[in-house]
Symmetry: none
Subunit: 249 residues, 2 copies
DNA sequence: AGTGTTCTTGCAAAAAATCGAAATACTCTA
DNA sequence: TAGAGTATTTCGATTTTTTGCAAGAACACT
């Protein structure tokens, strides 16, 4: 067993479960706890996970954000995910777009909650497989290598045939006037279709994305029913949305 | 043994297993460990693999493997996968069912080969994401938790709209008289649809599955164009298939 | 406070890497 | 074809890395 293999295995476990126990890893890999501890220390030093007493936890997966913001950002996304889950009721049919916030949401779905979940996102589908009470329906189509979601006519076609209770629309840019925007044309088309397929549209969005603008428009703010940020609903940064017909959470 | 030969051998091993041990290579190639070490150092310097203590790993190693379940008869399945790849030509459109043999096939696809690849299997889709020249099209539908492929009407519907060059149909049971059979009715429906969508049907199957029989029938042997096992085509265990209109590989 | 568990530290055995020198193979020229 | 020169491989001695173990300190939980 190469050290590199153990490292990858540990990182993979962390990705899936968000946390690992030293003893579990040692057991699974059939090596001593000391070795695992040393491995985790190295991964910690190279900022690939966070070492804590008894194991390690994930840093979050947004690789682009500046160093030191990683944990912070995950913290925000977790808060958003937790708020989002309160909107979901047993037995509902939901639609999850791609993005790390929604991945976090998928990870935190209570395993005893019965749901039907549509998604075009490969990582989210993999995550949802671990939830035994969730029926997962994958929106097929051409896979985009970098966003890891399906795009294109076939996927949009499949979306056109459904009507779900809630759609959680991972949001990269929201602007009080311009609404939701996106830089990738194909993804815009997907998100438009997703909005059209949903009775209720929820936009989980970390506050630093508020006010930003991209090339293509997805929809106006009037098409969004709920905006979830990590902030309190009365925060001053959300003022621009207060007069709108839109629930803040 | 030329240096170049060793280099190619090592790279191939890395491509297949994602990692190699110095001692293994030295053993297989009947050269000293020092030589292998030097070879790997050269390959490392030319960025063809990553040298680590005790061996080397593939450069794209950090892309996570979906479900780290242990694969039985990996050696045989690798042989089958290698034979299967010889059937694929640049630019073709192929269809991969689920199963570990096909996962092996996906892993070993040369990364420079341009292909379009349909699949209803989540692990295979994840694996194919690492192949930059392969267009991946995921067959959407309801995800079966244990087989990790999509099933049901929607998936079958999507299959009904395509016609691919070759289908690699992971096979759990093949019988000279009864043909291909399967344990799960939903998967039977998927496989039937896959056969219908393909000009050529290839059945990769490890020899121990030959002669076995399950509850539901997928198709007769006449629907299979090529049968690939880890055995030599003239092996006595394959006698029953020799008189049939079916290529053995 | 008490009781397990987890961390740190130091150490020793085993495996692997490094380095230099010797042996072998290969190429090119006279 | 002999022989010099170069490249490649092997071998041995030494150093480094890795790993598991143990004793005591630090920690979490009741």
């Amino acid at each position: 067993m190469l050290k590199e293999e153990r490292h990858q295995f540990i990182l993979n476990e962390v990705r899936i479960h968000n946390k690992v126990l030293l003893t579990d890893i040692a057991d699974l890999l059939k090596v001593s706890v000391d070795t695992v501890r040393r491995d985790i220390k190295e991964l910690h030093n190279s900022d690939q996970l966070k070492k804590v007493h008894g194991g390690a936890v994930s840093l979050g997966f947004n690789t682009y954000s500046p160093v030191g913001k990683k944990v912070y950002s995950l913290e925000k996304k977790s808060q958003i995910a937790e708020k989002a889950i309160t909107l979901i009721k047993e037995g509902q049919v939901i639609l999850l777009s791609g993005g790390t916030t929604n991945l976090e949401l998928a990870r935190r779905l209570p395993s005893k909650m019965k749901l039907t979940c549509f998604t075009p996102s490969l990582p989210i589908a993999v995550q949802l497989l671990t939830k035994s009470n969730v029926d997962v329906i994958f929106i097929g189509g051409r896979l985009s290598k970098d966003s890891q979601i399906t795009i294109g006519g076939s996927a949009i076609n499949m979306l056109s045939e459904i009507k779900v209770d809630i759609c959680f629309l991972g949001t990269n840019s929201i602007h009080p006037v311009e609404g939701l925007t996106e830089f990738d044309w194909e993804i815009v088309q997907m998100k438009k279709a997703m909005i059209h397929s949903s009775r209720k549209v929820v936009s989980p969005c970390i506050s630093e994305k508020i006010g930003s603008l991209q090339r293509y428009k997805i929809c106006g703010t009037e098409d969004v029913d709920v905006l979830i940020t990590e902030l309190e609903p009365w925060d001053i940064k959300l003022d621009a949305f207060k007069t709108m017909n839109l629930q803040l959470l």
